[in-house]
Amino acid sequence: MDVPLNYALALAAVLFVTGLAGVILRRNILIIFMSVELMLNAVNLQLLAFSRYFGNVNGQIFVFFVLVVAAAEAAVGLAIIVSLVRHYKDSLMADDFNLLKG
């Protein structure tokens, strides 16, 4: 049974907006980080849905790239967060890191 394209797109949109809201509204760096991953996965879902709808495998290949990049990003990002918390300020709140304030 085929899931209609619209359903997949709607789910992707909901996931994306959830992630976006998380990035904008939440203060905890880890949550923001997870929200970013959520947004990436929403996009992945969309790519897959279109790939299947159009019968074009390019979309799926693209998803693999996104996953690889996301994994690398997660590794680097988490490392940065860990070292930030250890060496700079014992906090996970994004608002506490405002060195670039003009």
Binding site: I24, N98, L100, K101, G102
Partner: protein, 645 residues
């Protein structure tokens, strides 16, 4: 001969550089170095002059050569070179000999001065620049030396730079000379444009190839430069103020050498000037008027050095008068003798000031040590200075058979023989005035009763470092004229210098009548004796009261005493408007130009201040911005789709 020529400029230059760099370390050794260098230049100059003398008639062809290529730019080629003819040789002798004596004298004069080494850096530097000027074989090198001596003059007038009057005088000398040099520069540029060359040997033969009008303009512009450097009307005002410098400087630069550069330049350019009768008469009249004008001021001044300064201006006027009435050899002869007796007078004045200043200082008398009204009777204290001063006075007054007699008389005779009777009369009157003010100074300084307290003030004769040069110069003032000037018209000097002007001056048609010459000599001698006699009656016998005379002619006395108010006139007519204009420009700069520049700065800062609020440092805000941008872009696509769709 030209093998050794490079020593003449190189030795003083090397001394100046070494003294300038190491002077502070080697102290008094600077003097030895400078004297040795100038002495070497003097010996080579003698050698050169001897060589020129041996060449005789052949010296009409100058030895023109190059030390090296100076500037090569397309067709514009200038070399640093030399141009040896009798005129150059005479100038080399004058410059190096007086410079050498002044160097020696300065050892004594500046013995206690903390700027000793600085002085012995500037003085060889000046000598170098002057010799560069004299040796030049092209206009640009001449100009280089010309500016070089101007610079050294500036440095030396302002030698005591912590005195406001000295730095003011230095500035004045520099700026007034700038006016003259402006004309001089334009003259040189016109020469380059019209002759396509700057070398003397290339330009002079082509003198008649261009129009007389243009040539007149060129020579007039060159003469403007000469007016500045040689302190002629209307640019003479800097010279009396230049007396703020140390007295050896006044003797060397502002009496014997630098101020004669203008005379030398006109004589050197005679192949150009001879084609322009208008310029020649301008030269003659400017010279004549300056001579009598400056002499009239000199009559009533009280500063021992300023009298001599006005006398210098006056005597330089004589030289230009000679150049203008077609007797350039006499003009150069007067330059030659003047260098010795005026140098001697200045050095004597320096010796007087030196000892009087010390004596006043010692006795705690707070009088002006340069005012001759505070002196008198100094012959008892300073016998050597007095006798040498008297010798130089006799020479400058033109008393037979001393140096000034021969040269001044040649000029007056020349003016008379060339039909310039008005100029002759002016020259004659000036000769009388010269004799008067020189002997007025002599009597007031050295004779009569002291006008200071002789029990408290005890002036002493100067050290031998200073008296030696005085004696040499006084001796030369007495005899040099008779040695090289006699008999008139056929003397050694004339024979020596003749080749320089051989192809330039028109042929003499008739020889001067001996009887007429004798009468003219008698008249000028009488004029000189009348001047001396009046000075004698007024300031030695005290038979006539100068104060009563001044009271009888208050207007005239006031005019002369205030130097015809020329300085005040220049101040009102030129200096003050220039200052006002400068103030206006300063305001424009401060408010308009700076306003624009600062306004730009303020604007950038304001905009930045407004925008800095955007950078909160909170990541969430940035993310919001990104989202807002995304929404805006997508929204615009959507709208576009709706509109076109």
């Amino acid at each position: 001969m030209s093998d050794y020529l490079w020593i003449i400029p190189a030795a003083p230059c090397a001394a100046a550089i070494i003294n300038g760099v190491l002077g502070k370390k080697i102290g008094k050794l600077t003097a030895a170095l400078a004297i040795a260098a100038v002495g070497a230049a003097f010996l080579v100059a003698l050698y050169v002059a001897f060589g020129v003398h041996l060449a005789g008639e052949k010296a009409a062809e100058p030895i023109d050569g190059a030390f090296y290529q100076w500037i090569v730019s397309g067709s514009f080629k200038v070399e640093a070179g030399y141009y040896i003819d009798p005129l150059t040789a005479v100038m080399l002798i004058v410059v190096t000999s007086v410079s050498l004596l002044v160097h020696i004298y300065s050892v004594g004069y500046l013995a206690d001065d903390e700027g000793f080494w600085r002085f012995f850096c500037y003085l060889p530097l000046f000598t170098f620049a002057m010799l560069t000027l004299v040796l030049a074989n092209n206009f640009l090198q001449l100009f280089l030396g010309w500016e070089g001596v101007g610079l050294c003059s500036y440095l030396l007038i302002g030698f005591w730079y912590n005195r406001k009057s000295a730095t003011d005088a230095a500035m004045k000398a520099f700026i007034v000379n700038r006016v003259g040099d402006f004309g001089f520069t334009i003259g040189i540029i016109l020469i380059w444009l019209n002759f396509g060359a700057l070398g003397f040997t290339e330009v002079f033969p082509q003198a008649d190839k261009i129009g007389v009008g243009l040539l007149t303009m060129i020579t007039l512009l060159l003469f403007v430069g000469a007016c500045g450097k040689s302190a002629q009307i209307p640019l003479y005002t800097w010279l009396p103020d230049a007396m703020e410098g140390p007295t050896p400087v006044s003797a060397l630069i502002h009496a014997a050498t630098m101020v004669t550069a203008g005379v030398y330049m006109v004589a050197r350019m005679y192949p150009l000037f001879i084609h322009t009768p208008i310029t020649l008469s301008v030269v003659a009249w400017v010279g004549g008027l300056t001579a009598i004008f400056a002499a009239s001021i000199g009559l009533v001044q009280n500063d021992i050095k300023r009298i001599l300064a006005y006398s210098t201006v006056s005597q330089l006027g004589y030289m230009f008068l000679a150049l203008g009435v077609l007797v350039p050899i006499s003009g150069i002869f007067h330059l030659f003798t003047h260098a010795f007796f005026k140098g001697c007078l200045f050095l004597c004045a320096g010796a007087v000031i030196h000892s009087v200043e010390h004596a006043f200082h010692h006795a705690e008398v707070h009088e002006d040590p340069q005012n001759i009204q505070n002196m008198g009777g100094l012959r008892r204290y300073l016998p050597w200075t007095a006798w040498t001063f008297l010798a130089a006075c006799l020479a400058i007054s033109g008393i037979f058979p001393f140096a000034g007699f021969w040269s001044k008389d040649e000029i007056l005779t020349g003016a008379f023989n060339n039909g310039q009777f008005a100029l002759y009369a002016i020259g004659l009157l000036t000769a009388g005035m010269t004799a008067f003010y020189m002997f007025r100074e002599y009597f007031l300084v050295f004779e009569g009763e002291p006008r200071f307290d002789p029990h408290r003030v005890h002036p002493h004769e100067s050290p031998w470092w200073m008296v030696g040069p005085l004696v040499i110069l006084a001796f030369l003032s007495l005899v040099i004229g008779a040695i090289v000037g006699a008999p008139p018209e056929h003397g050694l000097f004339r024979g020596f210098l003749d080749p320089s002007f051989l192809h330039v001056l028109p042929e003499k048609e008739a020889e001067a009548v001996p009887l007429e010459t004798l009468v003219l000599i008698g008249i000028s001698l009488i004029a000189a004796f009348i001047g001396i006699w009046i000075a004698w009656m007024m300031y030695f016998r005290r038979a006539w009261s100068p104060q009563a005379l001044a009271a009888r002619l208050p207007r005239l006395y006031d005019l002369l005493f205030h130097k015809w108010y020329v300085d005040e006139f220049y101040d009102a007519a030129i200096v003050q408007p220039a200052v006002r204009f400068a103030n206006f420009l300063w305001g424009f700069d401060a408010y308009v130009i700076d306003g624009i520049v600062n306004g730009l700065g303020y604007m950038t800062r304001g905009v930045g201040g407004g925008l800095r609020g955007l950078q909160t440092g909170v990541v969430g805000n940035y993310a919001l911005g990104i989202v807002a941008g995304l929404v805006a872009i997508l929204g615009s696509f959507l709208l576009k789709g709706l509109v076109t769709g």
